[in-house]
C-alpha cells in the first residue's frame, strides 16, 4: 500500500528551512460496522431535526450557536467563524527544543511521518542531530484551517511530527486527591517489587495482538457462510485471598516459568 502525502510544508528552524511532506503514521484497523435499519437491512442516514416536531432542518438553514447558559445561545454567523480561522501557511515553525521526557505521554495525539520534499540531506541531518542531542522540537503549524502544536522527533532515521493536545483537554492527576486507604507494608512492597522485576522487559509492541478483532472477523466470516457459531455465556467469578499470600504465589509461579 502506498500512502499519499496529506500535506506539504516547510520546517523552519530560525532561518534554516527543510521542505517536507506529511503522511499519516496510523492506519486504523478497527472492525467497522454499519448501522442498519433492522427491517430492511439497509444503511441508515442521519439528519438534524427539531426535537419536538421532528421536522428536518436542511443543512443550509442550520445556524451555529454557543450555549452560554442552559437555553441561552449566542449565534455565530459563518463570516464570524471564518474570521477565527488562522491564516493559511506552509510553515512548520520549530520554536524550541526540549528533552523528550519533558512532554508527558497524555499530551501526544496524532502522529505523522515527515518525508523529505526535495532536499534529503537537510532532512536526514536534522533527524540525526535530534537523535544525537536527544532532543525533541516543539513546532507550530496551521493545517486545514486548524492550528497545531506538535513534537518533532527522530524515529530511527526519520522525522516524526506528533500533534499534541491542548492543555485544557487533559485532566491532570495533580487536581485529584491521592487515593485513600492505608500505605502498603514494607514486606508487601518488597514482594510487589520482586514481582514487577520478574515481569520487567523491553517494550516490544509486536508481543501484543488485537485478538478480539481477529475473533470478531472470524465470527463474521463464519456467519456469512450461513453458519451460526455457538458462543458461550461469559461468567465472572473471583475469589479473594490475602495480598501477602497472593504475592508470594505469583512470585513462585513466575520463577518456575522462568526456570523452565
Amino acid at each position: 500500500m502506498t500512502a499519499r502525502a496529506i500535506w506539504k510544508g516547510e520546517l523552519k528552524l530560525n532561518s534554516t528551512k527543510v521542505p517536507v511532506k506529511l503522511y499519516s503514521a496510523v492506519k486504523d484497523q478497527t472492525v467497522r460496522f454499519h448501522i442498519l435499519d433492522e427491517k430492511s437491512k439497509t444503511r441508515v442516514k442521519q439528519h438534524m431535526v427539531e426535537p419536538d416536531s421532528g421536522k428536518e432542518v436542511p443543512a443550509e438553514e442550520i445556524r451555529k450557536g454557543f450555549e452560554v447558559e442552559p437555553g441561552t445561545f449566542v449565534i455565530l454567523d459563518p463570516e464570524e467563524l471564518e474570521k477565527l480561522v488562522p491564516e493559511a501557511s506552509r510553515e512548520i515553525e520549530v520554536t524550541q527544543f526540549v528533552p523528550p521526557k519533558e512532554i508527558p505521554p497524555e499530551y501526544y495525539d496524532r502522529p505523522y511521518y515527515l518525508g523529505p520534499d526535495g532536499d534529503q540531506t537537510a532532512y536526514f541531518a536534522l533527524a540525526e542531530a535530534l537523535k544525537n542531542k536527544e532532543r525533541e522540537g516543539v513546532a507550530r503549524w496551521v493545517m486545514r484551517k486548524q492550528p497545531y502544536v506538535g513534537a518533532l522527533r527522530a524515529q530511527d532515521d526519520h522525522l516524526v511530527l506528533v500533534a499534541l493536545r491542548h492543555a485544557e483537554e487533559v485532566l491532570s492527576a495533580k487536581d485529584l486527591p491521592r487515593p485513600a486507604g492505608r500505605a502498603p507494608e514494607k514486606k508487601e512492597l518488597s514482594m510487589a517489587k520482586q514481582l514487577v522485576e520478574l515481569l520487567k522487559g523491553e517494550f516490544n509492541p509486536k508481543e501484543f495482538k488485537d485478538e478480539y478483532r481477529e475473533r470478531v472477523m472470524e465470527f463474521v466470516e463464519k456467519k456469512a457462510t450461513g453458519h451460526k457459531p455457538k458462543l458461550h455465556l461469559v461468567k465472572t467469578k473471583r475469589k479473594t485471598t490475602s495480598l501477602n499470600s497472593v504475592l508470594a504465589k505469583s512470585i513462585e509461579s513466575l520463577r518456575k516459568k522462568k526456570a523452565a
Partner: protein, 281 residues
C-alpha cells in the same frame, strides 16, 4: 467502533447528588501475577471545550436522528442493528450479545504482563488517556501497585477488551493515581518503508553539526504547558462574550432537562472514588 447508540439510562436515584454523579466509564480488574485490583475507569481527556450547537433558524437546538434510507422514516434505537459489509450492500448482522460473548473472561482483565520504562514507548503509540480509581475494597492492592511502579519508574503493559474493542494500554502512576494510556497496536502504525520514505544516505558531517548547534542554541530544559494553550477556543469565547454583552444574536429557548456539566461531574466522581467514599451501588 461506531456502536449502535443505546440510550444511556439516567442513573437511578441512588440518593447521591440527585442521581447526577457520573458513573465510571467502565469497571474492571487489573491483575499482576495473581494479584487482582478491581478498578473504575474514567476518561482523562475532554475534547473540544467549546462545542458549537447546531440550531434551527429560530435558535432552537437541533437533535441528530437516524432515518432509514429506504422508508425515509426516523428510527428509534431499538429499530437499528449493526452489520458488517461483506460485499456491496450485503451485511452480516452482529448483535451486542455476540460481541459480548466473543470476549472470553480473561480478556476483560487488564493483565499487566510486562513492565517497561515509560520512555521506551515511542509516542507514536499513545492514543487516549484514562484514569483508574480503586473500586470499593481494592484500595490496599491499588496503592501497593501504584507505589511499586512509582519506585521502579516502570509502566505496566496489558491488553484488554472494553465495550466491544480490544485495547493495548500502558499503565503508570502519576501523583499516586494510575493513569491508563491506550495505545495503537503494532499493525496500526505504518513503517517508513510502507509509505516509501527514502532511506538515509551518507551525510556530510558538517550539515549534522550545523543542526546540532541550532538545537543547542534553542534548547530549553523545561517544556511549559503554556505552549499548549488553546488560543483558538479563547478567541471564540471572547467573541461570544462580546456579543453577549452587546445583546447581539442572543436567543433564549426553552430546553428540556438534560444531563449537564458532564466534565464537572466526572471530576467529582473521580475525586469521590479516590477518597474511597463511593459505596457500591
Amino acid at each position: 467502533m461506531p456502536r449502535k447508540r443505546t440510550a444511556r439510562k439516567k442513573s437511578r436515584g441512588d440518593g447521591e447528588d440527585n442521581g447526577r454523579a457520573a458513573r465510571p466509564f467502565w469497571s474492571g480488574t487489573i491483575t499482576f501475577g495473581l494479584v487482582s485490583v478491581p478498578v473504575d475507569l474514567y476518561p482523562g481527556n475532554r475534547t473540544n471545550r467549546a462545542p458549537l450547537r447546531m440550531l434551527s433558524p429560530e435558535g432552537e437546538p437541533l437533535s441528530r436522528r437516524y432515518y432509514s434510507q429506504k422508508t425515509e422514516r426516523d428510527l428509534e434505537d431499538d429499530q437499528m442493528i449493526r452489520g458488517f459489509e461483506i460485499e456491496k450492500d450485503k451485511f452480516v448482522v452482529v448483535t451486542d450479545e455476540e460481541l459480548e460473548r466473543l470476549a472470553p473472561e480473561q480478556s476483560r482483565d487488564i493483565d499487566l504482563r510486562r513492565f517497561v520504562p515509560l520512555e521506551d514507548i515511542p509516542p507514536l503509540y499513545f492514543d487516549r488517556s484514562y484514569f483508574l480509581a480503586p473500586s470499593a475494597g481494592s484500595e490496599k492492592a491499588y496503592k501497593l501497585l501504584a507505589e511499586t511502579m512509582q519506585k521502579s519508574d516502570l509502566a505496566g503493559i496489558a491488553t484488554f477488551v472494553m465495550r466491544g474493542k480490544e485495547y493495548l494500554v500502558a499503565i503508570f502512576p502519576e501523583n499516586g493515581i494510575l493513569r491508563a494510556e491506550t495505545m495503537r497496536f503494532a499493525d496500526e502504525i505504518r513503517s517508513p518503508k510502507e509509505i516509501h520514505l527514502p532511506e538515509k544516505k551518507k551525510l556530510p558531517a558538517a550539515t549534522v553539526t550545523k543542526f546540532e548547534k541550532l538545537i543547542e542554541r534553542h534548547s530549553h530544559k523545561q517544556f511549559s504547558l503554556k505552549d499548549l494553550k488553546d488560543e483558538q477556543t479563547e478567541k471564540l469565547l471572547k467573541l461570544v462574550e462580546r456579543k453577549r454583552k452587546q445583546h447581539k444574536d442572543v436567543v433564549e429557548v426553552e430546553v428540556p432537562e438534560r444531563e449537564e456539566g458532564k466534565v464537572v461531574d466526572l471530576m467529582a466522581a473521580l475525586k469521590k472514588s479516590l477518597a474511597g467514599k463511593r459505596k457500591a451501588a
